[in-house]
Amino acid sequence: MIARPPALGASDKLTFLLSLIPYLMDHDSVTVAEAALHFEVSAERVRDAVRLIAVSGIPGETHQYLDGDLFDIHWDEFEENDRIVLTHLVAIDDSPRFSAREAAALIAGLQYLSSLPENADRDAVASLMAKLTRGASATPTQLAVASQDSDSAMAVIRAAGHDGVQVEFDYLNARGEHEHRFVDPLRLESIDTDWYLRGWCHLRRAPRTFRLDRMSELGVTSIQIEAHDAQLVLPDALFQASAEDLSVVIELPASALTLLADYSPDRATTSVGGDRVRTTLRVAHYHGLKRLVSGLAGLVTVVEPAEARQVVADWATAGVARYEATGEA
């Protein structure tokens, strides 16, 4: 299954050319800036595409690509006013269909988003998926994502976001501490099955990230959220490294490294024989580490510091003790 490296750039550019033409047809006259905004690309990319379209066409009867066989634009408008006016069309006048994989990527994405309040109307989503299937040139690739029940927490947070008010909830942090929080909801993020609320925490007076499944007693308040947009920029990465983070050396099979990608920013490893490697994790505290290591039982072993080994050993020992206290194994 050695696949030839795909000519990704060219495929993207071709798709853009084939998509820009029907858009321009529907808009008798549109500025480069408007088209760039609509397609969410740079103005220069639009200009490059327009320049290429304007000199492209079909060989024609003479096989010489004569004027009538080529697209044409209003060149003065384009060069002087940055405005696109198509004056002659060739061969295509409609949007292209989706490929089997393109339709599948969107359908699986929609299935994944089934827990969003926006997707509560299952019939509407089903009709949307049917349209994507009909709009594909072949049966969509069978990639499917199990639907999740619409999460009540997300509906509450979304309602608060809609009304511009704070949410409040009891939060159990990774250290095992319960606190009551008031938060301005800013963004809902997810990684696979885990959902997070990014928001302004009034207890900490700082932006914070909260796991939805660690919230209890979630409710909408009547307190307006503060204006943040100017001074508050949420970092892109969900997990922030901090100067106070502790370094822990672990040993594991090289193949298991991807499981820990979020904790090991540099991914530098040293081999210790066989397929086993050592790497350094950055953790905020050992409470999270002991859970992480115990949940990857048999894969990951803490090498140092000794204190970290002790915390993990104590955690596992306490776990084993519960089974011994109840008698049989």
């Binding site: 490929s99 994989r101 599948a104 709009g135 963004r187 859970r291 776990g319």
Partner: protein, 341 residues
């Protein structure tokens, strides 16, 4: 100013592909390979009349594949009076199959959801597929409505076997891989016709026809060890429609049939998080009943909770969690690695 395409010394890849698509859409009866190489922009500049055009022919074969990958229906028509004569094969793109059907249109709200769905894939080839699908959606000229609250959903398919399996599925290619079944000491080679790849309970599964067992099987991608390789010459006709849903239905049935009873420590992380998955609706007590699909995966998760969880039943899960905790304890006793033994 516009320049005549004749004079451009070098034709970019996208210009050649674009010109090929235009030429093949414009033709009703199709063009032969010779026509294309001699006349289409990007080929004709390199075409030697009466000479050796082997390189150019290979270029055309690759371009054809790239165009088809984009969902553009590039057809081959055999001459009725001389089937099998490659020189007379004609190529074309039927406009009716190229154009998006007229009844496929999207509202601003639908477009907002589709844009969000496209952002789900952050890594791998599906992120490129999503991006191209969005470009095609944008060609319809509809402006999407804005979501009230920002969403940044993401789905990762980090299993190394994900890409080769999903591509093999499209090509109808039987594949082979080593599969480590829990409880078995060493991996066994499986030959499978892949029919669907599905995400269930946070794990990617392959659903396919096991060629040796002559039966449908479900495999966890995380237990595929080593590369996924094509079995040369062993192909099938992809007829995937509905297979993904069938795979999910089977996994749902398995999930519903498996029940674990747990005791959780009140107020702990385990109590807060696991009670959200309580089979009898969100609970607040210290007893949690959970459904699960895979005993080993649940055992890994429960071991992470350490003393916060005690498995009551089934016995196999209880033993699996205890064994994991014993393993972690034994590996970490002593101040340095290996000092306890």
């Amino acid at each position: 100013m516009p320049t005549s395409p004749d004079k451009s010394p070098r034709v970019t890849v996208e210009e050649r592909l674009f010109s090929l698509v235009l030429a093949l859409i414009a033709t009703e009866i199709g063009l032969t390979k010779a026509d294309i190489l001699a006349t289409v922009q990007g080929y004709r500049q390199r075409f030697t009349s009466g000479g050796d055009n082997a390189n150019l022919e290979r270029q055309f074969e690759r371009d054809k594949d790239d165009i088809r990958e984009l969902g553009i229906p590039l057809e081959m028509i055999e001459p009725a009076d001389d089937p099998g004569n490659n020189h007379l094969l004609r190529y074309r793109i039927p406009k009716g199959l190229y154009n998006l059907p007229p009844d496929v249109s999207f509202s601003p709200d639908e477009l907002m959801l589709l844009k969000l769905a496209a952002t789900v894939w952050r890594e791998g080839s599906l992120s490129a597929e999503s991006r191209r699908a969005l470009t095609k959606l944008n060609s319809l000229g509809v402006d999407s409505s804005d979501p009230v609250l920002g969403y940044a959903p993401s789905l990762r398919a980090r299993d190394a076997s994900f890409e080769p399996l999903s591509k093999a599925m499209d090509r109808g290619q039987v594949v082979a891989f080593l599969y480590l079944k829990p409880g078995e000491g060493s991996p066994r080679r499986r030959r499978v016709a892949p029919r669907a790849v599905v995400l269930h309970e946070g794990r990617w599964h392959l659903y396919g026809a096991d060629q040796d067992a002559q039966a449908t099987r479900t495999f966890l991608l995380s237990r595929i060890v080593g590369p996924v390789v094509a079995v040369p010459g062993d192909t099938f006709v992809p007829d995937g429609e509905g297979k993904g849903q069938r795979a999910l239905d089977e996994l749902d049935a398995l999930w519903a049939a498996n029940v674990a009873e747990l005791e959780v420590e009140a107020g702990s992380d385990a109590a807060v998080r696991l009670s959200k998955r309580e089979a009898h609706g969100p609970g607040a007590g210290t007893t949690v009943t959970l459904h699960y699909t895979d005993l080993d995966i649940l055992a890994d998760e429960l071991a992470g909770y350490g003393p916060e969880v005690l498995v009551r039943s089934p016995l196999a899960l209880r033993q699996a969690v205890r064994a994991r905790l014993v393993g972690v304890r034994d590996a970490h006793i002593g101040t340095t690695l290996g000092s306890a033994t």
